[in-house]
Each structure stands twice: as structure tokens, then as C-alpha cells.
Symmetry: C2
Subunit: 235 residues, 2 copies
């Protein structure tokens, strides 16, 4: 059985991939006219909170964390964006500075589309505009879920929940029964779950002892998603 039958994964995923796929050719060409592509190494910053947006980014391949730093420098991950998703459109559409920072969490291939091209395409294309409205509205639901999770769930429940979500994001050429390796540093995991690294490690140890998962070095392999769903205590 797919995860969708047992867990509402949609409610934890932005789905911004669907914004650009199968856009009418005219719109797509206009948008991509001046795109430039670049490799970002693990840890490299794509844009910084508070700076002025110069365009949007498309993840051809890789994973990117969207995060905020508080004044003590503590990082909070808002969302992990995957291959096919776009970044940086919020700031341009809101006519504000970037509300968060973005950095690659693994080596990633990312295209840059200049602000003017994005806005011009948006002006021309009702489909793009409609899709952005749809995606942004869906994002509202996702963030409302995350917010509620942070406000109401324990560290153990939050980690269980995020592992379920991460497992989906780390699927590549997945076949049922195949193991999925979640390859994320404990620090990133901690800042995704909103706790200290030590607590993540302790709960992971607990999950290992109950047979929910296994670790190989930093990699996490989930053996029992159902138990994880139980641990998350999520409707």
C-alpha cells in the first residue's frame, strides 16, 4: 500500500513542481528565455533572508532547505524543497524581501530565472497565475499544519512526523519494499524538528531500539512506517 492510503502526505508537501510542468509552450519559452543553470554544493546558500529578490530558482536536481535564523543564529528549517520545485517566488509576488533563506542540503543543479522574465510571463499567462494561486493556497495549508505541529506535538512526535515526510522526499526510483535512505545531518534534522541535536539523537536511538528504523552512519533507513505513524500520533 502506498503511503497515501495511510498518511496524508499531500498536507506536508508544497507541490510547487506542478507550477511549471506542461505550461503552454509560449509561456514556457518566455519564462526560460534567459535562464542560467548552476551547480550548488552541499551547504551553499542560494539566497538570504532580507535581501532583495532578483529572480526565481528552479531545482533541476537536488534538495534545498528553506530556513530562518534567529538573532542568536539558531536555524529553523521551514521546508525542504525537492527536485522539480521552484523557489523565491514569494518575495517577488509579495513585493518584499526574501522572507527566508535557501541553501542546498545536497549537491544540486539549479536554474535561475530573472525577475523580469517571471513577471512578464505571469502577466501574459493566466495559467501560470492560476497555478501560482493554487500552489500558494496549498502552501498555506501545509504551513498551518507545520505550525500546529510545532505548537502541539512533542519532540518525539515531531521527529516521527518529519521522518515520514523525509522518507517520501528521499525516494529515488522507488520500488515497493525497497529501502529509502534519508541522508540528512543531525543538525539539519534538529532544526527541521525544532529541537537540539542531542534530542534528535536520543529519540533516534529509541526508534532504533523499537525496530522502527536503522542507521548506517548518518543515513536513516525506516523499516516500519506504520509504527512511525503511530509515534507521530497524528490523525
Amino acid at each position: 500500500m502506498s503511503i497515501k492510503g495511510i498518511f496524508p502526505i499531500d498536507k506536508w508537501d508544497f507541490k510547487s513542481e506542478s507550477v511549471l510542468t506542461d505550461l503552454p509552450l509560449d509561456d514556457f519559452d518566455l519564462l526560460m528565455a534567459n535562464k542560467t543553470e548552476q551547480v550548488y554544493k552541499k551547504g551553499e546558500i542560494i539566497f538570504r533572508e532580507g535581501s532583495y529578490p532578483s529572480g526565481i530558482f528552479f531545482i533541476s536536481d537536488g534538495k534545498v532547505k528553506k530556513y530562518k535564523l534567529d538573532k542568536e543564529g539558531r536555524e529553523q528549517i521551514i521546508y525542504v524543497a525537492n527536485t522539480g520545485e521552484i523557489l523565491g517566488y514569494h518575495a517577488i509576488l509579495a513585493e518584499e524581501r526574501y522572507p527566508d533563506s535557501a541553501a542546498a542540503i545536497e549537491e544540486s543543479m539549479i536554474s535561475f530565472i530573472p525577475r523580469e522574465d517571471f513577471l512578464e510571463t505571469l502577466h501574459q499567462s493566466e495559467i501560470l497565475s492560476r497555478r501560482l494561486l493554487k500552489t500558494l493556497s496549498h502552501e498555506f495549508a501545509v504551513l498551518a499544519n507545520s505550525l500546529t505541529m510545532f505548537a502541539q506535538k512533542s519532540v518525539r512526535e515531531r521527529l516521527a512526523l518529519q521522518l515520514i515526510v523525509l522518507r517520501e522526499k528521499y525516494k529515488v526510483n522507488f520500488q515497493p519494499g525497497m529501502p529509502v535512505e534519508i541522508n540528512m545531518s543531525r543538525d539539519d534534522l534538529a532544526s527541521l524538528v525544532g529541537t537540539a541535536r542531542e534530542n534528535v539523537v536520543r529519540v533516534l536511538t529509541e526508534f532504533k531500539e523499537t525496530g522502527i528504523l536503522e542507521t548506517k552512519g548518518r543515513k536513516i533507513i525506516v523499516h516500519d512506517v506504520n509504527k512511525l505513524i503511530d509515534m507521530a500520533n497524528y490523525k
Copy 2:
């Protein structure tokens, strides 16, 4: 000095009032053609999470909490919407069910605009579409802030922060130096701050003892916003 000089209140406010104000007359008329107006008493539910959206709502006067219930029935307030703001558009634009519930937290006058009228106006009006994109993108920034607050701030800091924000929302015919009465139940405050009622009461007592605020029955009057900003420990 206005609050804007000392605290970034914009980052905590959706600003959805700006969506409908001064819309071109044609668009506005089309949108309002079949609107119906209704009074909601304190506590009355406007829509429920998980149900299908039949239209959008406009708050002519009053205040509305947007919230989610977990499976134990514990409530988490996502946002407090004020006079002039609109509600319920996320679900329609995302083509999903309502991601949260909405209920009046004081007697409110609210207009209902049918889904079809909203969508037709959106189709006709590039301005409406642009404004929604702008508002939704701004909301992303607000929710990212809230999420980070829940993940990183203590109960005391969160309560201080929310009191600063609530004080702005409860301003009516405000003149500098005038007292602002925040009239919200301790239960609602607790579910806004993401803690138990008892903790809200304890921190409020502490704030009273340090002269930050005063209470009159359930009403809270903030005397020293600057100290509150200090307590919130917010950049």
C-alpha cells in the same frame, strides 16, 4: 512613536484587507452581486476544517479566529483576522477542503460571497488575481514567522509577542497614549500562544508584577510595549 518604528508588525499581519479595497467598480460589482450579510455571535463557527468551500467571507466588522483542532480536540489558533479582512479563499483557490476552521471571537458582521462569483471575478480581473498573489505570498512570510516562533521561543516570549500583535488588532479609534483593551478569553490566548491556560495566567501575573500590563477582569491593558518587545526577545 508608532509601533512600526520599534516592531515589524507587518510581519505578523496578513493584510488581506488590501485585496478588495478600491477594486475597479466593475470587478467589485460582479464580486458583490450576490453577497449576503449575517451577524455571527461570539463563538459561532463560520466554516469548519475539512468541509467543502462554498464561497468566501468578508469581515465587515468584528474579529475571527482561524484555528485547527487536533484529534484530542485541542485547539490551535493560526491567525486572528480583523475587520476588513477576507476568509476562506485558500480552500477555493487550492481546490481543496478548508484547511482550518473559522469562528467569531466577538460579535461580528460578515458577508458571504458565493464561490462562483469569486471565481468569475478572479477570471475577469487581473488586479484581483495580482492582489491575491501578493497577499498569499505575504501570508507565507507571516506563517513562516509564526512557525519559527513556535519552534524556537519560550511560552513567555510567545505570549509577549502575541500581546504586541493583539494590541494592534484591538486598537479602535486609537489616539497616541490611549489605552488599548485586549478582550480575549484566557483559553483563546492559550491556544494562540500554544500552551495551557494555566501558563498564560502565570506569565500574565508576572507581567502585571513588572508593570508591563494591567488586567481589568478578562481585559488586558498593555502599559509598556517596549518592555513587551524586550520580553519577546525578538530581533
